[in-house]
């Protein structure tokens, strides 16, 4: 536990420039030392669990729905849009903003187009009830 304190006090010495990064580092180490899992491992855990959920959910799907599922889950994978918004929205200079905004355009095409085309496909089945 002493280590943790030391780390906390060390921040005093850091310059403003790199203090942000160091504080974050410190942060995750502090949590970790206090008995909890490190941030990265928690993210990894979330990943693994979500994979299990995905696998279990898709296990039995009729062939008819393969295409709508493909296109619907494709739309969901457009969730990168969230990342794109964060990348484009921040104050990060021209180059990063260009990349970010292109990402926003791409991702929103993927998301919106994906959901609409899925809905259109599924509408074909509706007569069947």
């Amino acid at each position: 536990m002493m280590q943790l304190l030391n780390l906390a006090f060390q921040t005093e010495a850091t310059t403003l420039e790199n203090g942000v990064a160091q504080a974050t580092e410190l942060a995750s180490e502090a949590i970790q030392q206090s008995g909890g899992a490190s941030h990265l491992i928690l993210l990894l855990t979330v990943f693994v669990l979500a994979v299990f959920v995905g696998v279990e959910i898709i296990a039995k799907i009729p062939p008819t729905l393969h295409t709508p599922l493909m296109s619907g889950s494709n739309a969901i994978s457009g969730i990168t849009l969230v990342g794109a918004i964060l990348a484009a929205g921040g104050d990060n200079g021209t180059w990063a903003s260009i990349l970010g905004f292109s990402a926003v355009v791409f991702a929103s095409m993927n998301v919106v187009g994906g959901f609409v085309v899925t809905n259109r496909m599924l509408a074909m089945f509706k007569t069947r009830k």
Binding site: I76, I79, V82, F106, R128
Partner: protein, 466 residues
Amino acid sequence: MSPDLIDLFYLLAAILFIIGLKGLTKPRTAVKGNLLGSLAMLIAVVATMLHQDVLSVGGLLIAMAVGSVVGVVLALKIEMTAMPQLVALFNGLGGGASVLVAGAYLAGKEFSGKVASGNSFADVLTATAASGLIGAITLSGSLVAFGKLQELKFIKDISFPGQKLLNLVLALASIGFGYLVATQPQHAELWFWLMTITSTALGILLVISIGGADMPVVIALLNSYSGLAASATGFVLNNNLLIIAGSLVGASGLILTRIMCDAMNRSLWAVLFGTMQGGGKALSADEVYTNVKSTSADEVAMMLEVAQTVLIVPGYGMAVAQAQHAVRDLTNQLLGKDINVLFGIHPVAGRMPGHMNVLLAEADIDYDRLKEMDEVNSMMDQIDVAIILGANDVVNPLARTDPDSPIAGMPIIDADKARTVIVIKRSLSPGFAGIANPLFSADNALMLFADGKQAIVDINKALQEG
């Protein structure tokens, strides 16, 4: 909005994604599932817009509006037959977005601050590299798949000696650059874009040599990749919604890929590394089509009059000809004459799974008449007349007999075992797999050369008059 609140909304969105995806797996809940997914996306986007780091809301709204409008227009204007390539296109865009987000992260201030601090953060950089690598493969691979499905002229099934070696080199180079991204933060941007180039090339080469008939599997796989890329982006940005949604898609795409491979009786390995090209050249058309007999609509109508059970096997040609409504009319007329009509639906007939179901449902054909391949094959001896409507590969007996054929091992509808087979297509040209079909010169087969819709309309007329 406070970060905690945003995260709670993210969690809500993640839950809705899961429920939505689950909905998509059952016919009755699929529409609702898709809507739930889009609701989740809306929640996620709105919550993100309220994040403290997001400054230029106006510009973002414009960018999203542009993307959305293009997406909606494409989604609504495209013909049903072109949907698979549209999915491939969207998928590629998602992968591209992952590359760009990772690139933007490396170009951004948070990153330069971290580099200046001199701390190691190889974990985040590894995720950045992964996001770029997978994203680039997804992007280029999907675009090639799009081109193949769209039958763009300049994209052919390219294969050349040493291709596998080149793939290997590109793969190793991409991984090597990725390693440099993770270990040399100072030059991370340079290595990152070099890596993007090599993995883009890799994506192109991997997909360009895959046979067109395997495209649906490839798209499902690339879909899985785009999910994994999104998930990697989540690790970069420390955002668990991206991680969850991405890995959901990654996992479900992988499972779907396996299910589809099983349906085509091919291993994923064989799909990816092309046993499709294997073996010597198959029989040429001239060798196969020695005994082709053609027929007319009137003759077909006469045969149908005396049949008890008629099987219709639709294929891609029915979709091209938009013959489904004519087929419905024919079905109703035959039923009125107490002739039983069944449809044999091959799992990969058409250009996307479920393609035939969609079209026949659109034409209001009773769902109970649609039989799956296995069921139809087990009752083939009771079929008096089998009408092959614009189908080719899915009834090609070579799949059973010629182990060197590109479709070897794919289960087919054994229409050749029906008493009489009527094949409706415009010519003797091959189907998607590009091979000749011995069924067309079988003793019990008659060709009706015509556009699919016209042929059915003609038969219908002949039946009414006869």
